[in-house]
């Protein structure tokens, strides 16, 4: 028996695995990580199974320790993470000595960090998944975000695990943590350069401008040509009313050519739907399984992690790509993850 002891929970720290698949037919949302890249990468760095449960940390991080020596990895949003007076390195396996506080300090970049533990968080699965469904209060750890004094089950160390060299080093060094070598290729694939320069924003943006690529959706042609032009050339600002369910965007209103009678249908991760007020919403990890607003497009899967790391106040430029391009970019994403997994295994051997 090994547990993660929570001294400070952070603002909104949730267990998420690769999502609750198979229950959308019952109206159960998928949930899962907002940033699939970082969550899967953190697991890959430890040699975990795909879809092992990780801790998604949003905006402010927790302070935790483990009852036994624990191999961990942190990916995603950058925080000043401390183990004693030393910074915890990102994007590699780290063996943390038992009862040593892991303290998330100031956030430097991005919205969500992912903490993986060797073997994955070991709470009971609900409907086949350990993802937290906050609205339904099930899954994850007691169906909710972490709270102070929680003790979250994690796997005990097993004999014969990879990382023996690291374990020896921890014993011999007497240090609070030892880390495996850095793994190359832990950054998302870069975006192509932008041309021409974007039109000025009509909504004041406080943050930076990001780019997301999208596939035009089934109702694309039903939007006015002005709406099509605005959506692909003007920045849209992420509103404060954005959460794990959806990112609400503010910008030029997107009008239909004429009113549409819509029947609710599937809304996958990244669906950009447009309610009657013309302000688009990108549906994220906690979206409902179906929805009835016109869909102007789908953010490509390969760019969803970028979006998941964007903060309210930042603005987005939407760049159209073809279905084929989107699918090729996703395979590139998967290939990069596989390479990182292989490199991590070599680093631990």
């Amino acid at each position: 028996m090994n547990r993660m002891l929570v001294r400070q929970p952070g603002m909104f720290s949730l267990l998420q695995d690769s999502g609750r698949h198979g229950s959308q037919q019952y109206g159960v949302p998928v949930n899962g990580p907002m940033d699939e890249w970082s969550a899967r990468l953190a697991n890959a760095l430890l040699g975990n199974e795909e879809g092992a449960a990780v801790l998604e940390i949003t905006l402010t991080g927790p302070s935790v320790s483990f009852e036994q020596d624990m191999m961990i990895a942190v990916c995603g949003a950058r925080f000043d993470i401390r183990v004693g007076d030393r910074p915890l390195p990102y994007d590699r396996a780290v063996l943390l000595r038992k009862r040593t506080p892991l303290v998330f300090g100031e956030r430097q970049d991005g919205a969500r960090a992912y903490l993986a533990v060797r073997g994955g968080f070991a709470t009971d699965a609900v409907l086949g998944s350990r993802s937290t469904n906050v609205r339904g209060a099930f899954g994850g750890f007691q169906g909710r975000a972490l709270q102070r004094t929680d003790a979250v089950p994690v796997p005990a160390r097993r004999r014969g695990e990879a990382g023996l060299a690291l374990a020896r080093q921890l014993v011999q060094s007497g240090l609070p943590m030892v880390s495996a070598p850095a793994v190359p290729g832990c950054a998302l694939p870069p975006l192509p350069p932008l041309s021409p320069a974007p039109a000025p924003s009509t909504t004041p943006a406080t943050g930076k401008t990001g780019r997301v690529r999208f596939i035009p959706g089934p109702q694309w042609a039903r939007f006015s040509s002005a709406a099509q032009a605005d959506f692909t050339s003007r920045p849209y600002v992420i509103s404060n009313q954005s959460d794990r369910m959806g990112y609400r965007l503010e910008g030029p209103a997107l009008a239909l050519r004429e009113a549409l009678e819509m029947v609710s249908e599937a809304t996958p991760f990244g669906t950009v739907q447009v309610p009657p007020d013309g302000q688009p919403i990108v549906l994220m990890a906690d979206r409902q399984s179906a929805g009835g607003y016109p869909k102007i497009g789908y953010v490509i899967s390969a760019d969803l992690p970028r979006l998941a790391q964007a903060l309210p106040g930042e603005s987005l430029l939407f760049l159209p790509v073809t279905q084929e391009q989107a699918e090729a970019l996703w395979l590139e994403f998967e290939d990069r993850l596989r390479q990182a997994r292989q490199a991590a295994a070599a680093a631990l051997a």
Binding site: H21, G22, S23, Q24, Q25, Y26, G27, V28, P29, V126, L127, N133, R135, G136, A137, F138, I215, G217, P218, V263, S264, E265, A266, P268, F269, G270, T271, Q288, S289, A290, K295, Y298, V299, I300, S301, Q323, E324, A326, E327, A328, W330, L331, E334
Partner: protein
């Protein structure tokens, strides 16, 4: 002037033991329906949508459920899950599972689905379940009942009698876990959604809009017309399946009074 509903509806409403519904079509189990009217489209880069109609209704729903059963049985490689909606079937897939060099995964999977649908779709046997679901109409539990009655030019009692007369087929679950959508609601009760949605609809609320009845399984914001409330809980993560109702179930609402409602009230987890 209040229109009088035809005798069939009021007769059925007065006797809650509901006879076999007349709208249940004869199903010929030897016949396979050739799927000529469908359309497969990619929705994003990890999901296909099979479009089987453009209006919610019993026939379309029957086809949707039959196609879900077929695809769940026949598609094996790379399928994440298959999800029915009113007129469409969503096939969520894992692109990595499809061989490279044979074109985009979406096209490979669409071809497989085309082939399966071209061979014909076995009609599903009716679920055989007729579910009587208690509902307390009007008052605090159905605050929009009077307004609905005014809109359709009937008395509240007539609205209740009509709504509780014929079975409604469960088309799909979404909005919240276990939240059913069922129809068709009698055309005499055709009302749109409310102009201004409520910020909080109590759990259990029975609502109608655009020819469909839904039951708010969880308390949430909502814009439908609330005509009743059921004491039943419809979702339990520990049950298998977790929904109390099933796709294609035929629901008959059984009016109960407040005392009966209180006696039947189930805790919601």
């Amino acid at each position: 002037m209040t229109k009088i509903p035809p005798p069939a509806a009021s007769a059925a409403a007065s006797a809650f033991a509901v006879p076999a519904p007349q709208d249940s079509p004869q199903v010929d189990f030897d016949r396979k329906t050739s799927m000529t009217s469908h359309q497969i489209e990619a929705v994003g880069d990890r999901c296909l949508l099979v479009r089987l109609g453009d209006k919610a209704g019993i026939e379309t729903s029957r086809t949707v459920h039959a196609v879900v059963a077929l695809l769940q049985k026949k598609l094996t490689t790379g399928i994440v899950e298959i999800v029915p909606a009113f007129t469409t079937v969503a096939v969520h897939y894992q692109p990595l599972a499809f061989p490279r060099g044979r074109g985009p995964a979406s096209r490979q999977l669409a071809k497989q689905i085309e082939t399966l649908l071209a061979r014909g779709v076995e009609p599903l046997a009716d679920s055989g379940r007729l579910v009587e679901i208690p509902a307390c109409y009007g008052g605090e539990f159905g605050p929009d009942l009077d307004d609905v009655a005014r809109q359709v030019d009937l008395s509240p009692e007539e609205v209740v009698a009509i709504h509780a007369s014929l079975p409604l087929t469960v088309y799909a679950f979404f909005f919240s876990p276990g939240n059913p959508f069922a129809g068709p609601v009698d055309p005499r009760l055709q009302v749109p959604r409310r102009k201004s949605p409520r910020t909080l609809v109590p759990a259990g609320s029975v609502a109608i809009a655009n020819g469909i009845t839904s039951i708010y399984q969880s308390a949430s914001p909502g814009g439908w017309n609330l005509i009743a409330r059921t004491p039943w809980n419809l979702f339990d993560i520990h049950a298998s399946p977790p929904t109390r109702l099933q796709l294609a179930d035929r629901l008959v609402f059984k009016p109960v009074d407040e005392a009966q409602f209180a006696a039947l009230l189930e805790p919601r987890p």
